[in-house]
């Protein structure tokens, strides 16, 4: 540092003052600059970027809470509820009000049962969730438990009763297959609709609950709530109520449905009753069945195993999913095809010696000892002569036979409005060549002619086929949904149905034959006839072989007695029918799995069901009145 000349005190003070002033001004200037920086930053945040931050602030404080709509009900044709929402009382605990959770649970445990599993779950949830979020202790409390808890609330801090809604099916397993059930939304079912992401939301998983799910679901409401930083709701800002789901009214008559279900009892069977003019299915039973309440609640692994292990397959809706050889019930098709093609007339007579020879093979009649002798069409139907129909089938040929069966609705899905329907099978030359790898042989025509071999049908198809025969050849299509939200749905085919183009002269002999089956001596179902005048039914028995009967067995006459055959190897018993015979209105098909003979196990069921449906019908009008076009006369 360079030395200076000594300064006087005054000079020094002057210099110090000057330095101070200069430096203080520089410092002040720097501060002003920093002030300027603050102002610039304020301008940027509060003016330039203000809109962006306003949006962010709104996002911060407003939570959109979805309000789940109550699910629509499912009703029968007379307005009886089949699926509805029941209040589900839950006991919940709010941690921040409860204080000592363990102690509160102990006290609650004195009033209602709290299992160890529930207890552990509650304690875990309480730790994981925020203290003001209610944790469910138990669900589906009955009224007794609810009142016990309500009375004791002063001693149970933080415990309260919460009311939710859960699906309830009052008729339990009688309609389980048709209604289906609801369940939690799976990952694959997410569509982006936020409603589906609500944890307690349920959607239809099968049956009507599934096909009509969108209508039943309704529209979500929304509640805008203001929340603070930890998510606690401060107040509701706006609310748009949910639009409840639409009610779905079915064509079913639950009274008839339950009657049929009880009549079937422990059999493994399916029954379909439909209106032959409108296609309305009045009853569709598959037994054994399941209780949809159990499914909506959720099955545990053991219950699920039990369902799967049951040989009678309770989860299958046999009415639409069971595919059976139609047996003799298929002879209707053989007869109509032959009459339509002109290869036989009602008066054509064939001789039945008990067997039929084609090439070097013999085809047997069910009455293989003695046979039916000379027999015409009417009696062949009435007595279900196999030989008559072997010959008829041979004459008409597989092409025309298959085509006629398809016209009557066999071999393809009917389009019933519940999921899972199977198509059955009507074999054709092309199909055999494509799938079996060999050309059609005529023996297969004979088998098809009596409904054996490769032919497969569902009970629903049999009912529709019978309806089409009985209604004079109109392509009636069965359906289960009558109205959705009070209006007939667009996806249902309703009368008038187009004609199948089969002459009345080709149908009348078949109808008469079916009348004979139930009402004339030697008719195969004469024992199951309806005797009350005006309610008489017409029908056709059938049995479908489950197991091939070997020639050796037949020849040596060592065929086992029915009750010696294991259940699983017994024939299926079938019966198709309609009533009343004077002015047909209802068609009914029955399949009793391993029921042996249609006449013994299936026909009496049909008799009781058809009598019931006719008696129930007297003077009753569906809830919504008759739907336009549903008048039987409209379809001719």
């Amino acid at each position: 540092m360079r030395s200076r000349a000594p300064l006087s005190t005054k000079q020094r003070d002057q210099l110090r003052d000057q330095t101070f002033t200069r430096r203080a001004l520089i410092l002040g200037g720097a501060k002003l600059g920093l002030f300027g920086a603050l102002v610039a930053r304020l301008y940027y945040l509060q003016v330039v970027e203000a809109d962006r931050y306003k949006v962010l602030a709104e996002d911060n404080r407003i939570n959109l809470k979805l309000l789940a709509p109550p699910r629509g009900r499912i009703l029968d044709r007379y307005g009886e509820p089949l699926a509805l929402n029941r209040l589900n009382y839950r006991v919940v605990i709010v941690a921040e009000q409860a204080g000592d959770i363990e102690q509160t649970l102990d006290r609650l445990g004195l009033l209602v049962e709290v299992s160890d599993a529930d207890r552990h779950r509650v304690i875990r949830d309480v730790r994981r969730k925020r203290p003001f979020v209610p944790v469910t202790v138990r669900e589906n409390l009955d009224w007794d438990d609810v009142s016990k808890i309500e009375i004791n609330t002063p001693d149970l801090p933080g415990v309260s009763i919460d009311v939710g809604q859960s699906r309830f099916y009052p008729h339990t397993e009688a309609v389980g297959h048709i209604l289906g059930y609801v369940g939690a939304v799976s990952e694959a079912e997410l569509t982006g609709d936020p409603l589906l992401e609500l944890p307690e939301f349920r959607i239809g998983k099968s049956g009507i609950e599934k096909t009509r799910d969108l209508d039943l679901r309704g529209t979500a409401g929304a509640s805008q709530v203001e929340v603070n930083a930890v998510g606690r709701v401060i107040r509701e800002l706006s609310r748009q109520d949910a639009v409840p789901g639409k009610d779905v009214e079915l064509t079913l008559d639950i009274g008839l449905q339950e009657f049929a279900r009880e009549r079937i009892a422990d059999e493994s069977a399916a029954a379909v009753v439909m209106d032959i003019h409108t296609g309305e299915v009045l009853a569709m039973v598959s037994a054994p069945a399941f209780d949809p309440n159990v499914f909506s609640r959720g099955l545990n692994a053991r219950e699920w195993e039990e369902f799967l292990a049951n040989p009678k397959q309770p989860l299958n809706n046999k009415a639409i999913q069971g595919q059976y050889p139609p047996g003799s019930t298929f002879k209707m098709m053989t007869a109509v095809a032959a009459l339509d093609a002109g290869v036989i007339t009602p008066d054509t007579v064939f001789n039945c010696p008990g067997h039929y020879a084609l090439g070097n093979r013999l085809w047997y009649c069910w009455k293989h000892v003695g046979g039916h002798g000379s027999i015409d069409l009417h009696n062949a139907i009435k007595q279900s002569c196999d030989v008559y129909f072997y010959e008829t089938a041979k004459r008409v040929g597989i092409d025309k036979l298959a085509a006629m069966a398809q016209r009557f609705g066999l071999g393809a899905k009917m389009g019933i409005d519940i999921p899972g329907e199977r198509p059955g099978l009507i074999p054709t030359r092309e199909w055999v060549r494509a799938t079996q790898g060999h050309p059609w042989n005529q023996g297969e025509t004979l088998n098809a002619g009596i409904g054996q071999g490769m032919v497969l049908v569902t009970p629903l198809q049999l009912a529709a086929m019978t309806a089409r025969i009985a209604n004079g050849g109109y392509a009636v299509v069965p359906h289960l949904t009558r109205t959705v939200g009070g209006k007939p749905p667009d996806d249902i085919k309703r009368p008038p149905f187009p004609s199948l183009g089969v002459a009345a002269s080709s149908l009348a002999p078949v109808v008469n034959g079916m009348i004979g089956v139930c009402n004339e001596p030697h008719g195969t179902a004469i024992r199951a006839r309806i005797t009350e005048p005006g309610f008489e039914m017409a029908g056709k028995t059938g049995s479908a072989q489950v197991r091939r009967i070997s020639t050796a067995e037949r020849d040596s006459n060592t065929r086992r007695k029915d009750d010696e055959i294991p259940w699983r190897e017994r024939d299926h018993a079938l019966f198709i029918s309609f009533a009343p015979i004077q002015a047909p209105r209802y068609a009914c098909s029955i399949v009793v799995e391993h029921g042996l003979h249609g006449a013994d196990s299936a026909a009496p069921l049909a008799r009781d069901i058809l009598l019931e449906v006719q008696k129930r019908d007297v003077g009753r009008e569906p809830a919504g009145g008759r739907i336009a076009g549903a008048d039987p006369k409209a379809s001719g």
């Binding site: 540092m1 200076r4 300064l7 020094r12 210099l15 110090r16 330095t19 101070f20 002033t21 430096r23 203080a24 520089i26 410092l27 002040g28 501060k31 920093l34 002030f35 920086a37 603050l38 102002v39 930053r41 304020l42 301008y43 945040l45 509060q46 003016v47 970027e49 203000a50 962006r52 931050y53 306003k54 962010l56 602030a57 911060n60 404080r61 203001e226 929340v227 603070n228 930083a229 930890v230 401060i234």
Partner: protein, 381 residues
């Protein structure tokens, strides 16, 4: 000579002094405190409880102290400047000892009756000590490098102690305030450069002495995004609050960010954010204007003061207030990383409020005693 003169006119001089008090500055300070009351009322959810009422009580105490301090002769403050500094330094040491017994950061000293924050007191006593030292210094003294050793120590000791708390914000404030004072007494530019270089060199060395949790705190202080749920989250929420206030704000008591607790510590660190959210740019500029007016008053007082001690005290006080204000506002606007800084006169907090008001009392005292001649050495008039 002056002593006998002034003591002889003691009776009349007290009235004269009161007359001399810069009441408009006091009014400005009280308006600033009033802004604080209003914001604390809003922060309490439209209630005097729990903050506003206590702040008002403390401000009342502060007002009395401010006037008393303003009336006390500047020479008294100069005489006791070093002792005051020493007491504050001992309190910082006491806090350090207490902190090592307790856990983590310790800024408060429990004196039984009241709790005080020694680092706040140090802001004033350091200004007084430096002012006394440089009052005695001639312009040549300031030029001598060994003459700066004592003020360097005066600054380094409390800065080191505060940094160890660790309260990096306050330590930096003390350092910057002192630097400003060294600057205005005429310390050469190159010495600042040298000092800066020395500090920069010392930082990596000092870093090794810090414990892991202390290092973590320093890191978060420098980069709040390292703590996204803590400091980083707070800054983001603060910017949202500020920005959403827009030009005119959401209205008094209607700041959604603050009232729904998105804004942390709204009554202390983020009170400016709350004001800016509720009163918008108009409100925040008004507050900045109040600080600017006080700054200008401070400079005017410094320029009108004849004693070097008074001038340095005035500049030192306004600089300390300015730095606290700037660091707090810049922090809540996300301009600089910082944690745990308060807005002087507005934020809730007893130590800070009372110390700031005592500081303003000193500033007014400088005005009242602007023409009092003070000798180079204590006792020498």
């Amino acid at each position: 000579m002056m002593t006998s003169l002034s003591s002889g006119r003691q009776g009349t001089s007290l009235l004269r002094k009161i007359w001399q008090i810069n009441w408009s500055l006091i009014l400005l300070v009280l308006v600033l405190a009033g802004v604080g009351f209003a914001m604390l009322y809003s922060a309490g959810g439209g209630s005097l409880e729990p903050w506003a009422i206590r702040q008002i009580a403390r401000a009342a105490v502060g007002l009395v102290l401010m006037i008393v301090v303003a009336l006390v002769d500047l020479r008294f403050w100069m005489r006791w400047a070093y002792l005051g500094y020493l007491v504050a330094l001992l309190m910082l040491v006491a806090v350090e000892v207490q902190g090592s017994i307790g856990m983590g950061a310790q800024r408060w000293l429990d004196l039984g009756v009241i709790q005080v924050q020694p680092s706040e007191i140090m802001k004033i006593t350091l200004v007084l000590a430096l002012a006394r030292w440089f009052h005695a210094a001639s312009i040549e003294d300031v030029g001598r490098i060994h003459y700066l050793a004592v003020p360097a120590l005066l600054v380094a000791a409390p800065v080191a102690l505060v940094m160890k708390q660790p309260d990096l914000g306050t330590a930096l404030m003390l350092l910057m305030g002192s630097t400003a004072m060294l600057f205005i007494v005429g310390v050469r530019w190159w010495k600042f450069a040298l000092g800066f270089a020395a500090v920069a060199a010392a930082v990596p060395l000092g870093w090794n002495f810090l414990r892991d949790y202390q290092k973590a705190r320093v890191r978060v202080f420098l980069d709040p995004t390292l703590d996204p749920l803590g400091a980083g989250y707070h800054i983001i929420q603060s910017k949202i609050a500020l920005g959403s206030g827009g030009m005119f704000g959401k209205g008094f008591g209607l700041g959604t960010q603050s009232h729904l607790n998105f804004l942390p510590e709204k009554q202390t660190d983020f009170i400016f954010t709350m004001l800016a959210e509720e009163f918008g740019m108009v409100g925040s500029l008004t507050l900045l204007g109040l600080y600017l007016l006080i700054m200008i008053y401070g400079y005017a007082i410094a320029f009108r003061c004849t004693s070097q001690f008074g001038r340095l005290v005035a500049i030192g006080i306004v600089t300390a207030v300015f730095l606290a204000m700037f660091i707090n506002i810049a922090m809540v606007m996300g301009m600089i990383p910082a944690k745990g800084s308060t807005l002087p006169m507005v934020s809730y907090g007893g130590s800070s409020l009372i110390v700031t008001m005592v500081g303003f009392g000193l500033l007014i005292g400088v005005w009242v005693h602007r023409d009092v001649r003070i000798g180079r050495r204590v006792g020498e008039d």
